[in-house]
């Protein structure tokens, strides 16, 4: 188990909602990341933002960890929920709100 995988695992185990994104919640550096931040804000969900631009190991590490080629990536209770498209669709269908409520 690589160091970076261990770090990611710790983050998603110790925080209910984790968003791996480009930039920070306060200033997203990518449109797709920004959309997910806006959705979480609208649902009043507190989340931990992790800026993958801070290091190449994390940037590649999260893609390998999830086996998902793009950023952002949303985790809830240690489970991968999806990227921007899935989160958006789940928000529009109300599925995301009920997920967080439970």
């Amino acid at each position: 188990m690589s160091e970076i995988f261990e770090k990611i695992r710790k983050e998603i185990e110790s925080n209910d909602v984790v968003l791996f994104m480009k930039g920070t919640a306060e200033s997203p550096m990518c449109g797709f990341s920004s959309v997910v931040c806006q959705i979480l804000d609208r649902l009043n969900v507190k989340y931990k933002d992790i800026n993958i631009l801070e290091g190449p190991e994390l940037r590649q590490g999260i893609k390998d960890f999830t086996d998902w080629p793009t950023i952002p990536q949303l985790y809830f209770k240690g489970e991968f929920i999806g990227g921007c498209d899935i989160v958006k669709e789940m928000y529009e269908s109300g599925e995301l709100e009920s997920l967080f409520k439970n």
Partner: protein, 76 residues
């Protein structure tokens, strides 16, 4: 690096049997696309699995030739 719309269409159509593929070139630079794929292969699978299937079919160009891809899957 970029990928031609026709090439992308070919990749997706051949990856999913019985599929209808719609592609929009978002920025006109061959680098940012929105794809819509309707296929019976998505039936009974979660959105996450459906998107994984699309990602896998484009594994060779995603992240390299293809910078941004917005995916919508439809069960046919």
């Amino acid at each position: 690096m970029a990928i031609e719309k026709e090439e992308l269409h070919k990749l997706l159509s051949s990856a999913f049997v019985d599929s209808e593929v719609t592609i929009v070139d978002l920025a006109g630079d061959g680098d940012h696309y929105r794809v819509e794929i309707a296929s019976s292969e998505f039936a009974g699978k979660t959105k996450l699995v459906q998107h994984r299937m699309v990602n896998d079919s484009l594994k060779e160009c995603l992240g390299g030739q293809l910078h941004a891809l917005s995916i919508k899957t439809i069960i046919k």
